[in-house]
């Protein structure tokens, strides 16, 4: 209880907005569990980190909850069958991603049984279980941050040293999104159970569930569930409704008054954040053995007939979600995956719901501010006052626009949470967030290239050092023989070849070419001779085909003279 005592007051973060919340149509009725669609699409990457590694083959029948793809690496997440059925393909399909590109997906055709397969036994008493055992089960259940970030939960549970405080995020600050609200009203006991499990696995002294004060029903349900659990180390805290109070850094600021250092993680303050839906998924996995196969998702906007929260299987195509909510209305104009502030537009409703998908917004033509033609920045400073990350959006914008990405990086570009507050208040309607996303992408690409160049430089240097050493050894051997009258010039020649660098790279292959065949045995030599003849014939054919052939075919002939 000690840690919770100082939390008698709340703080505030700078900036932020009060956009119209528009949560009403979708949070009025209970969440409806949807049956599985006839065909599910399951991208191997639905999380931050490495793609999952498929462990099933097309044609294989699987039960609900059976493993389809295993976590591949530390930061990765497993993928399970959301219903029973037959795996029909592993192929590239368009996924819910701002690029609109395709990525490898498992395609699962549902049977009508929707029957659970073999599941791990529930963990009878998690209160006495080792933290590592809980972490392992959370990892094997494929649980990731369900608030949208989709970061593998088990990785966050390995925080060392144990944090003081677990913050469970039920703020749900973004307009339109209501899935956590419904979940807290309907499954408060599971969330509280999950929070207690997470707190135990982390070894955190206390846990705090933060909920924006515009959700009185959720607050009441959660408080009742905490009271029923009798847990003293857990408290529900109402926080003022202001976008983006659900941002990790902003929520920590509101609850503790502390600032996560620039470029740092909350763990540095002894704090770990998890989402309420993640907590419920952990409870399910630990107490029933069921992995993550479904989630609450809001389907809303003027473009859909009956806005509501549904409990949908992971991998359900967006088109099926919209159809289950009465289909598109005549007003439907834009399809957005996520909320209106932080989501992105979908070009195609065939893409599937991923683990991190909390909202499908079908916006009407006039519902969201249209991307009106942008005007020049008038340096009004409104964006600076709105920024909850204490950045200078206007400066970031100028540098990003001038392609001075390094400069933007120095000004804290990577602390920008892409909340869109700056763009929302900008009187010139500049697409500020898009500039920041672009600048971040350029900086990351430059970083990748630099890393790759460093690696190549290092490997090239190591190779040259090795070649020089080998030449020196050969020279020493030759000198040691002293049998022949003139060893010195021979020994000196190869050494000189590596020393005068310009020729070394190109001479290496030709110099080594002759000894290689002579050391091979006869059948092998015949095979090589045959292969060479085949290649020669192919080259002759390619040459005969005039000069139409490009790059790879023409290269061998052109480059032979380089040595």
């Amino acid at each position: 209880m000690g840690v919770l005592d100082p939390l008698v007051r709340l703080w505030r973060f700078n900036g932020g907005l009060h956009p119209p919340t528009r949560k009403a149509p979708s949070n009025a009725q209970p969440a409806r569990a949807l049956p599985p669609p006839p065909r599910l699409l399951l991208p191997l990457t639905q999380h931050v980190g490495a793609a999952a590694r498929p462990v099933v083959n097309p044609g294989q029948h699987v039960g609900r909850g059976e493993l389809l793809a295993a976590a591949d690496g530390y930061v990765s997440a497993a993928l399970h069958a959301p219903t029973s059925g037959t795996v029909v393909a592993l192929e590239a399909r368009p996924i819910a991603h701002p690029s609109g590109l395709s990525a490898p997906c498992l395609v699962l055709d549902a049977d009508d049984a929707d029957a659970w397969g073999a599941l791990p036994a529930p963990l009878a008493d998690w209160r006495t279980a080792a933290a590592a055992e809980i972490r392992r089960r959370v990892r094997e259940a494929g649980i990731v941050g369900l608030g949208g970030a989709a970061f593998p939960t088990a990785v966050k549970l390995a925080a060392e040293p144990p944090p003081n405080l677990l913050i469970v995020n039920g703020a749900e600050c973004e307009p339109y999104i209501t899935c956590d609200d419904r979940l807290m009203r309907e499954r408060a006991a599971a969330i509280v159970g999950g929070v207690l499990i997470l707190r135990h696995a982390l070894g955190a002294a206390a846990a705090l569930v933060a909920i924006e004060d515009d959700k009185p029903e959720a607050l009441a349900a959660m408080r009742a569930a905490v009271a029923a659990s009798g847990a003293a180390e857990l408290r529900v805290q109402a926080v003022p409704t202001r976008y983006p109070s659900g941002g990790e850094r902003q929520l920590i600021r509101v609850l503790t008054g502390r600032e996560v250092p620039s470029g740092g993680l909350p763990a540095e303050l002894g704090i770990v954040c998890q989402n309420v839906a993640t907590a419920a998924a952990v409870f399910e996995a630990i107490t029933t053995g069921r992995p993550l196969t479904a989630r609450y998702v809001t389907v809303t906007g003027a473009g859909v007939h009956t806005p509501q929260v549904v409990e949908a299987r992971i991998g359900t195509p967006v088109a099926d979600l919209v159809a289950a909510c009465g289909g598109y209305t005549a007003a439907a104009a834009r399809l957005i995956y996520g909320g209106p502030m932080m989501g992105f537009a979908l070009a195609d409703d065939g893409v599937p719901l991923g683990k991190g998908g909390n909202c499908i917004l079908v916006a009407g033509a006039t519902e969201l501010a249209p991307p009106a033609p942008a005007l020049p920045c008038i340096r009004c400073g409104d964006c600076v006052r709105a920024c909850p990350a204490d950045l200078l959006p206007q400066q970031l914008y100028w540098h990003a626009r001038a392609r001075e990405f390094e400069r933007a990086g120095e000004l804290g570009l990577f602390d920008c949470i892409e909340c869109g507050c700056c763009a929302a208040v900008c009187p010139s309607r500049l697409p500020l967030v898009q500039y920041y996303r672009h600048a971040k992408g350029e900086l990351l690409a430059a970083e990748r290239e630099r890393h790759k160049a460093d690696l190549a430089r290092e490997r090239h240097g190591a190779r040259q050092a090795r070649q020089a050493r080998e030449e020196a050894e050969r020279a020493a051997r030759l000198a040691a023989k002293k049998a022949h009258p003139a060893p010195a010039p021979e020994a000196a020649a190869p050494a000189a070849a590596t020393a005068t660098a310009p020729a070394s790279v190109a001479t290496a292959p030709t110099a080594a070419a002759s000894p290689a065949p002579t050391t091979t045995d006869d059948p092998r030599q015949a095979a090589i001779a045959a292969a060479l003849a085949r290649a020669q014939a192919r080259r002759a054919r390619a040459a005969a085909d005039a000069t139409a052939g490009t790059s790879t075919d023409a290269a061998p002939g052109d480059d032979d003279g380089r040595g």
Partner: protein
């Protein structure tokens, strides 16, 4: 007393300045300019510039023996970066040394490879693994796309493929300028 303090402070300050100056003035380094140039070059190690790798080309530029427009993998952006570093006017890439290509990767058709190891000997960054008489494979993360392994292969089973854009390496495009 006061005079002593002032005098000592001044003395300390002066010797500090002197040491600082000496550290800058007499710093010993490899060739700092060539290092800086080498840091800008793409390290593809392809030899298209006419030198046996990026480092020799960097040294040639530093020595004033080669112009800045000879590196096709660096492309126009690379020429501009060199120009900015050296404080000279940028110029177009000299296409006599090759043209800029999209990033690419060598792929060995393992069913055809006869295990002759010639490609290993050609690869400037040891990005190919395989033992004599066994099939060979390119380590994708380490291949610089230099094409040097393509020509030596006696059975023509190495192909250069462009690196595809996937959701994993895609980046947001720039907004239309306002």
């Amino acid at each position: 007393m006061l005079v002593a303090i002032v005098a000592l402070t001044l003395l300390a300050g002066l010797s500090g300045l002197l040491l600082g100056y000496a550290a800058v003035r007499f710093r010993v380094e490899g060739d700092p300019l060539a290092d800086k140039i080498d840091a800008v070059l793409p390290q593809t190690q392809c030899g298209q510039c006419g030198f046996a790798g990026c480092r020799p080309y960097a040294e040639a530029i530093a020595a004033g023996a080669a112009d800045i427009d000879r590196c096709p993998p660096g492309g126009q952006a690379g020429v501009e970066a060199l120009a900015a570093l050296l404080g000279v006017e940028p110029k177009p890439l000299d296409t006599a040394h090759g043209v800029e290509k999209p990033p690419q990767l060598a792929v060995i058709d393992e069913t055809q490879c006869i295990g002759c190891t010639l490609c290993i000997q050609a690869c400037p960054v040891d990005a190919i693994v395989g033992a004599a008489k066994h099939m060979h494979t390119v380590i994708a993360q380490e291949c610089t796309g230099c094409e040097l392994c393509v020509a030596p292969c006696p059975v023509d089973c190495i192909h250069m493929v462009p690196i595809a854009t996937t959701p994993a390496n895609w980046a947001w495009p720039a907004p239309r300028a306002a």
